[in-house]
């Protein structure tokens, strides 16, 4: 457990693990092209956990998939740039992307039950991945697989290597998935709702593991989740998404304690507190618009208590407000 996971990788502090700028993703459909992601920018430093939070349909998972180059047909990147470890990846061909995936960036998905091939042993899947990205011998790869399992906290790893995924419990399976994502020592991990399918007590184990791995190996993690609590617990910085756009981003403490955007504010207030009890929760009326019915201007304005004419006329840019950035006219000269 004390060994570092990465053999030795000089991660230049200057080069971010991930840099996304102006990313747009569109889905052509019969009723016109849907803009699922609209000019999203974000940046993850090595060893940093960026929480990407938002309600369902906010486009947070699509952002993750776009970075991985795994958008499902007919989705496509229509603008912006993605750099992983300083290398631009959005323009790569599928063959080149294949070489980057796994080696430069790994992924963790929501449901550990379905993320593993049921017909291969865990060891086989690990060795396959390890050998794919290095020229290790079979024995060396095996040793490395063992080491990986150990490092993600799986007891009796020798035995576990020979077992099939269905023989693992949910939490253990998610650990295997994490080990697989780390197999080639990537700079970046996209973790898409890694704890949603798990029980509360297991969830804490997994987030702690992610935090530790991040600290130990210097990997940058993009933690995509709908659960503000997980973000608060785990992430360094947070990016709040609404209807395909980033509405607010900043250090996690600042965003939580001092949200700037009305949506973030509403969201924070809507979460029932563990510490005290109110008669009615603050609520944001309505629901997130569907992609085909996104209102003009600020997508949040129909639900916003402060909305003014400007809000429906133009989309506010993301600008710095103190330690955080927010995309709201309120901070940029008012809504009128």
């Amino acid at each position: 457990m004390t060994q570092p996971i990465l053999a030795s990788k000089d991660h230049e502090v200057a080069i971010p693990a991930l840099e996304v700028s102006g990313l747009s993703v569109e889905f052509p459909s019969r009723r016109g092209t849907l803009l699922a992601i609209d000019h999203v920018s974000m940046r993850i430093a090595p060893g940093e956990i960026l929480g990407v939070v938002g309600e369902s349909g906010a486009g947070k998972s699509i952002t993750g998939l776009a970075v991985l180059g795994l958008l499902e047909h007919p989705g496509r990147i229509s603008g912006g740039e993605i750099h992983v470890g300083g290398r631009r990846v959005d323009t790569l061909s599928e063959a080149e992307l294949t070489k980057v995936r796994g080696r430069e960036m790994g992924a963790i998905f929501q449901d550990p039950l379905t993320a593993l091939n049921p017909l291969f042993t865990v060891g086989k899947q690990l060795v396959e991945t390890i050998r794919l990205h290095s020229d290790m011998t079979k024995q060396a790869a095996n040793a490395r697989a063992l080491e990986l399992l150990q490092s993600v906290g799986i007891p009796a790893p020798e035995e576990r290597l020979r077992q099939y995924p269905h023989q693992f419990s949910g939490g253990m399976r998610q650990r295997v998935v994490i080990a697989l994502a780390l197999a080639a020592g990537p700079r970046l991990i996209i973790a898409d709702e890694p704890t949603t399918a798990l029980d509360v007590s297991i969830q804490a184990q997994i987030t702690a593991l992610l935090r530790r791995l991040c600290d130990e190996t210097g990997v940058g993690i993009m933690l995509v989740t709908h659960d503000m609590g997980v973000i608060a617990e785990t992430a360094d910085r947070v990016c709040v998404m609404y209807s395909g756009r980033v509405v607010e981003s900043g250090p996690v403490e600042d965003v939580i304690h001092n949200p700037q955007h009305p949506y973030t504010k509403g969201l924070m207030a809507a979460i029932p507190s563990l510490h005290d009890r109110v008669e009615t929760l603050a609520q944001i009326d309505g629901s997130m618009p569907r992609l085909n019915a996104r209102p003009p201007g600020c997508a949040f304005h129909p639900r916003c208590p402060h909305a003014g004419p400007k809000c429906s006329a133009a989309t506010p840019p993301l600008v710095s407000v103190g330690t955080t950035s927010a995309a709201c006219w309120l901070q940029q000269g008012g809504c009128q």
Partner: protein, 312 residues
């Protein structure tokens, strides 16, 4: 909460023309083509008495001296026999139209019979489980372990034995329908059963149970409509299969009799003239059969993909 809700409620037809299904259909060239061809074939078949120059079932209308006339564009071809005549002097075009009608009727009827039986039994098996399920599924096993061609050969040859002459003409078709249905209901029953077992556990069914909805209504009004999508696809594809089976049986000589020819019978009879130069007797019914089944299968195929939630 009623944000962006349209005060006007669209009617069912509007809903249909606005639906993804319709949209997917319109954008699917082969599906549209198949539907047009199929529509044309079906309309022509059912207008057979109006369209065809001759009633091929009316023995008195057959003129033996017009036997084996070639199609109209060949030397010796005669009006009104556009596609020529067979050895009885039967107009091939009329034979095809009437034959298609028989094939389609048998196809539809056998699908309908097997649907009713299959859905009914599948619902019961899936909903009640236990011994009812066991018995029904074992019966299905038995039927499925005798291949369909055999089932049909056996049923139709036995039944024809017992049919009194008065009933024979309608009876042969009915027997074919039963023979085909006897096999294919199992398939529907299995699908419905599996789907019922899933739906039965769903929360909307439990909610309905909580207000005391009786089992029969639960099955028919809640569960059944939600099992119909896969059934619908299977039924379309089985319709094509039923036509093929009927043709195969008729080809083997245990299907429709030669004086009431279906497409298969026409092909069987025509096959005897393959080398004699009268190729049109076998060729045109074969083409019609293929067109019909290809069109049905193309529609079914498109439907399967269009209704598959996983493929979108």
């Amino acid at each position: 909460m009623t944000d962006q809700s349209d005060p006007k409620t669209p009617s069912r037809t509007e809903l249909f023309f606005d639906s993804d299904l319709w949209w997917s259909f319109k954008s699917h060239k082969s599906a549209v083509g198949a539907a047009i061809v199929l529509g044309f074939v079906i309309v022509a078949a059912f207008l057979a008495p109006v369209l065809s120059p001759q009633d091929p079932y009316d023995l008195a209308a057959l003129e033996l001296w017009n036997a084996e006339l070639p199609p109209i564009w060949m030397e010796g071809g005669q009006m009104p026999y556009l596609l020529g005549t067979d050895v009885q002097g039967r107009d091939i075009l009329s034979g095809i139209l009437y034959g298609t009608r028989i094939s389609i009727i048998i196809g539809i009827a056998s699908v309908a019979v097997s649907l009713v039986v299959g859905i009914g039994l599948g619902l019961m098996a899936g909903y009640y489980g236990g011994w009812i399920d066991n018995v029904l599924m074992r019966i299905g096993d038995v039927l499925l372990s005798i291949p369909i061609v055999l089932v049909a050969i056996l049923v139709s040859s036995v039944a024809q034995q017992f049919l009194s002459p008065a009933w024979r003409e309608a009876g042969v078709a009915a027997v074919l329908v039963l023979a085909i249905a006897m096999y294919s209901w199992v398939q529907y029953a299995r699908v419905v059963r599996a789907q019922t077992m899933v739906e039965r556990r769903k929360e909307y069914v439990q909610a309905s149970r909580l207000v005391g909805t009786p089992a029969r209504r639960l099955m028919l009004k809640h569960i059944l409509p939600n099992t119909l999508t896969p059934i619908f696809v299977a039924a379309t594809l089985n319709f094509g299969l039923a036509i093929l089976i009927e043709a195969t049986l008729s080809f083997l000589g245990v299907g429709m009799p030669p004086n009431q020819p279906s497409l298969g019978t026409l092909i069987r009879v025509g096959n005897q003239y393959l080398f004699s130069g009268s190729w049109w007797i076998v060729l045109f019914p074969s083409i019609q059969l293929c067109i019909l089944v290809v069109a049905v299968n193309m529609l079914g195929d498109w439907l399967r993909d269009a209704l598959n939630p996983k493929l979108r």
